[in-house]
């Protein structure tokens, strides 16, 4: 078992236990992380679960799909390692990953 840490824009940290197979968005929702709106419930339709992946997460989470990239491309706080949390499936290998939350979701 390991942890993924969500960091809010103001620096507040939330370390939560990894649940393999779940999406990063669901993990955030299930743990009540503020700052993930997830309006569409994980359909890659709304862009409101933007996270910036740090730590060892970048290589492990893989790359964004075309649809995801197009959504992210217009995100104001876009970074190189931006992802939509609904499109990341959690694995044990993500222990220690940091998911930074933007100030505003779309």
């Amino acid at each position: 078992m390991g942890n993924i840490t969500f960091v809010e824009h103001d620096g507040t940290e939330h370390a939560v236990e990894i649940e393999p197979g779940k999406s990063l968005m669901d993990l955030a929702l299930d743990n009540g992380i503020p700052g993930i709106d997830a309006d569409c419930g994980g359909e890659c339709a709304c862009g409101t679960c933007h996270v910036i992946v740090e730590g060892n997460g970048v290589s492990i989470t893989g790359s964004a799909s075309d649809a995801e990239l197009q959504m992210l491309d217009l995100t104001p706080e876009r970074a190189d390692s931006s992802r939509l949390a609904c499109q990341i499936v959690i694995s044990d290998a993500m222990d220690g990953m940091i998911a930074r939350l933007p100030e505003f979701q779309m």
């Binding site: 009540g32 359909e43 709304c46 217009l74 104001p76």
Partner: protein
């Protein structure tokens, strides 16, 4: 003494409301009363990923039981039959009365039922709840005939999902074109063609006069005398807001429970959120009742703030989405009242285009098929009332991002609100 909040309806709105209440500092009791044997779950996938088998009932749960336990939120499967605003109580089906300090109405909507000969035969379904979707799924059988009554989004999504399951699908639409109530002819034509190409038969200008079969439906009879074989029928002809309880308690109801900008009803101790409400849209400057998840979520946040004695309106531009086959349609805004249509991209030869709806030169809505950037651009243009020349919207050689950056150049920064 701790305060008690009762939420009626274990819905999308309720799931958000409980979370936002705790985040907003509500320390009292929270009790959610719903009539289904489930925690709040995602409804949109019922006609899509759930029906086609890509998601299970477990996948649909918005938040797990452990989350609500941690937040000290109670659930009770029951039905409220009366609200007594003077005594501040709700009465359950067994006569039990529960007191509240604050009450939240998140009762959603229910399907519009049709009353035609044979409408109670087995195999005839509506689609609103998990139980509905489960019974449709159980009744679906490869190569058998399915007839969908109503060519709206629910009907078309169901058609696409049943097609994926290998059924022979027909869609019957009373109007001259599918999606007539919500889209321009250009979009209706596209989806008509898409479904036809995927083997779905769409028949416009046809009304159903009844259903025939022994105990299980066998055929659908139309007003023009034609008959269609049917092993499975799904009726999708719209929904009605659940407002009867509110109305009986004396709350002001007019096509939805009337709420102010902070989702407070005509009783200061009662808020309402989601499909069952009627709220003023500042963007469109008229009262509207919306049937959508983002609306339920935003109104729930707004209602929670009101219950925690702070006033903040979280509602934004209405938006919707629809998945059919591999295509994602994202809809920004409400197109009613448009006087001009601008199409970006080729809707005849590609499966990626956007249709912009303008009124007096201002963008009021957009239907974006596999065009997420145009969708995000439209949300911003409509919400902030920014005018873009129609020629630019139409010109597919100017990327949506560039239009956004041009606007940002004028106002100084690229932000979404």
């Amino acid at each position: 003494m701790t305060k008690k909040c009762i939420i009626i309806g274990a819905s999308h709105a309720a799931a958000q409301l409980t979370t936002s209440l705790r985040q907003g500092g509500w320390e009292g009791e929270i009790l959610v009363i719903g009539d289904e044997p489930h925690l709040p779950y995602q409804r949109p996938p019922l006609s899509k990923a759930f029906l086609s088998g890509e998601k299970t009932a477990e996948d649909l749960v918005i938040r797990p039981a452990t989350f609500y336990q941690k937040q000290d939120v109670q659930f009770r499967q029951d039905r409220v039959i009366e609200i007594n605003r003077e005594k501040q109580t709700v009465t359950l089906a067994n006569g039990e009365e529960l007191g509240y300090d604050k009450l939240a109405l998140c009762m959603g909507s229910r399907v519009r039922e049709i009353n035609l000969p044979g409408c109670n035969l087995n195999g005839i379904h509506y689609l609103r709840n998990l139980a509905d979707a489960e019974s449709i799924k159980n009744n679906a059988a490869k190569d058998q005939h399915a007839v969908i009554v109503g060519g709206g989004y629910i009907g078309l999504e169901t058609a696409a999902s049943l097609r994926k399951l290998g059924m022979q699908v027909s869609v019957l639409e009373m109007e001259p074109r599918i999606l007539k109530r919500v889209t321009a002819p250009e979009v209706s034509e596209f989806y008509h063609r898409l479904h036809t190409e995927n083997g779905v038969q769409i028949i416009n200008n046809i009304s159903v006069s009844g259903f025939q079969g022994n105990s299980h439906v066998e055929k659908v009879v139309c007003a023009d005398g034609s008959e269609l074989p049917a092993h499975l029928v799904v009726i999708g002809v719209g929904v009605l807001p659940n407002t009867e309880l509110a109305e009986a308690s004396g709350l002001v109801v007019n096509n939805g429970i009337m709420v102010d900008e902070f989702c407070v009803t005509s009783d200061p101790n009662i808020v309402a959120a989601g499909d069952c409400t009627n709220k003023l849209s500042k963007i469109y400057d008229r009262r509207i009742r919306l049937e959508s998840v983002p609306n339920a979520t935003e109104q729930a946040k707004t209602a929670a703030a009101s219950m925690c004695d702070s006033q903040k309106d979280f509602t934004t531009l209405p938006w919707f989405w629809s998945d059919q086959y591999e295509l994602k349609l994202q809809i920004a805004g409400l197109s009613q009242g448009y006087d001009q249509i601008v199409v970006r991209g080729n809707r005849l030869t590609t499966q990626s285009f956007a249709v912009f709806y303008l009124k007096s030169g201002q963008l009021i809505a957009a239907d974006c098929v596999n065009r997420p950037q145009e969708f995000l651009l439209s949300k911003k243009l409509i919400a902030e009332n920014i005018a873009i020349p129609p020629e630019q919207l139409e010109d597919d050689s100017i990327p949506a991002k560039e239009i956004l950056l041009r606007i940002a150049g004028k106002s100084g920064q690229l932000t979404f609100t």
